[in-house]
């Protein structure tokens, strides 16, 4: 295979792995706990920025400014990014989730994005304003001394390892009594409370887990691309992650992964291959959003639970009732 194609596919693989982290996190916050976290992409950005300023040296050039500048390396920067996103999510949640429910909560979280985005893009001294952070060193870049064109092959195992851990956690959560309690609060908070659930604590935990996932995805993004700016986390990005999850199947870890594949790779990368028309530079972006919208409509119409719906778990029962003739009879009757 020619090197260019290898490079392209490897880059796609990294985008896919990172996007899986995003959809898996939102699957816990929205898919399982039912929280309409319309500020989700904000926590990706927080993770990215904090990971960035953890790796970057202190800024000393006028017009190119950021806070901290800790000169740390991988993976501490990633942990700092995840922690920052989690703490920010906890603070937002403590105010919003404790006091507000469902629809209004979604509005408040949109406002959280708006405020964070405006402050970040207009405050130079925070994360270098509209231009954003650039030139963030990549993990092991200096130690390995690889050709920049081959670096993507170094990064795949890093992203894959992060995803493997986060997938395993999401998988355990989905199949645990904790996950079941989250789904119960999603269905009806009052009834869940009437059966002794600490619903605020459960929802807050789900929100923070999602934020940490988003933070990890953000940290991986800035580590891979070396840059992060407000253009990368417009509000539409949150909508697209929601779309991916709804298409793939909310409440199911495999649905989250499938959604990342369909939306991030098939549609977003697929439309990227369209020829650019000289007079219509916006065409690709518009096509992308139209296709995502169409996909959501089609899936909601024909398969409202998503392509891979939430698992209807059987507890301590054989998966294959056909193996047992007696249960075959009851099945028929």
């Amino acid at each position: 295979m020619p090197h260019d194609l290898n490079y392209y596919l490897a880059t796609l693989a990294v985008y896919f792995l990172i996007y899986c982290v995003l959809t898996l996190g939102l699957n816990i916050t929205f898919g399982m706990a039912g929280i309409f976290d319309f500020s989700y992409i904000t926590f990706m950005a927080i993770g990215a920025y904090f990971a960035g300023v953890a790796v970057l040296p202190p800024s000393n050039v006028p017009g190119l400014q950021w806070i901290l500048g800790l000169n740390l390396g991988f993976p501490i920067d990633l942990l700092i990014g995840a922690l920052a996103a989690g703490v920010f999510g906890l603070l937002i949640g403590l105010v919003a989730i404790r006091r507000i429910r469902s629809d209004y909560l979604a509005m408040v979280l949109v406002a959280v994005w708006t405020i964070t985005w405006s402050v970040t893009s207009t405050t130079i001294g925070l994360f270098n304003g509209q231009q954003g952070l650039i030139g963030v060193p990549q993990p092991f870049e200096a130690q390995l001394g690889v050709n920049p064109n081959d670096y993507v092959f170094v990064f795949i195992p890093i992203a894959a390892a992060a995803l493997a851990i986060l997938f395993a956690i999401a998988y355990c959560v989905e199949r645990s009594p904790f996950g079941r309690a989250l789904r119960a609060t999603r269905e009806d908070q009052d009834v869940a409370a009437a059966f002794g659930k600490r619903t605020v604590r459960l929802r807050l935990t789900a929100m923070v887990i999602g934020c940490v996932y988003a933070g990890v995805a953000g940290a991986l993004t800035i580590e891979f691309l070396s840059a992060m700016s407000p253009n990368a986390w417009a509000i539409i990005e949150t909508v697209i992650i929601f779309s991916a999850l709804i298409v793939g199947g909310r409440g199911n870890v495999f649905g989250a992964v499938l959604g990342a594949l369909l939306v991030r790779i098939l549609i977003i990368e697929g439309t990227g291959l369209l020829p650019t028309l000289p007079d219509h530079p916006e065409l690709i972006g518009a096509t992308r959003n139209i296709l995502i919208g169409l996909l959501v409509i089609v899936v909601l119409y024909f398969r409202p639970q998503g392509v891979i719906p939430e698992r209807r778990r059987r507890y301590f029962e054989s998966r294959k009732p056909a193996a047992d003739p007696s249960s075959e009879v009851t099945k028929g009757g």
Binding site: A181, D188, A193, A194, F195, G196, R198
Partner: protein, 257 residues
Amino acid sequence: MAEPLLSVTDVVHAYGGVQAVNGCTFEVPEGVICGLIGPNGAGKTTLVDVVAGALHLQRGSVRYAGADVGGWPPDRLARAGLIRTFQLSREFRQLTVLENLLVAATGRIDESLVGALFRRRQIAVAERALVKEARGLLEIFGLDALRNDPAETLSGGQKRLLELARAVMAHPRLLLLDEPMAGINPALMGLLEAHIRRLNSEGITFLMVEHNLGVVDRMCEPVVVMAEGKALAVGSMADHRASDAVVTAYLGRGRPA
């Protein structure tokens, strides 16, 4: 004399200017099936909501199991064994029938995130026991064949049964039933009645809002009559039928109740 399991004293709850519950006082001794009857708008459901912590206690006091529980949130009351059902069935729609029961077993299985990640073996052991108990209950209520179906697919009557089975799974000490017989056919009514009697004989105390006076007559002693936000009278149905005040407020004249 032992303190009653539940004492409601001068409880007040107003929605805006409407005094739904207006100085209501009565007691429920442990071990009884206490009926709560009264005309529509008498404040019965509001009272149940206040006792269960779903509505704020504006004035008065509620004592349960020897503690002043006025102002406790519903989840804390539930963990103390005070469980309620709802006037309209409110199942966890997309959870399976079996999961609806498992969720009710708060405190008997580790529901923390840390547990989900690091105590999976202990959880599996606890879960096996809970599933066994839940399936036993579903068997009794005739729902075991539907255990793996989403609760939203059940019929109205089956949802009523699920509502009661789920409440029992919570191991209640006091169970508040808000119109358990509403919209139920006579055969199912007999079945629910038998279940409630059996659970009562197993030690659960009931406070039951019910409009079907035949059911109340057969099952409940004492019976609290509410009217205009107050407990008008407490006694047996026979007492109430002999009382002018109760007959005027609720039972009506000229026909046998």
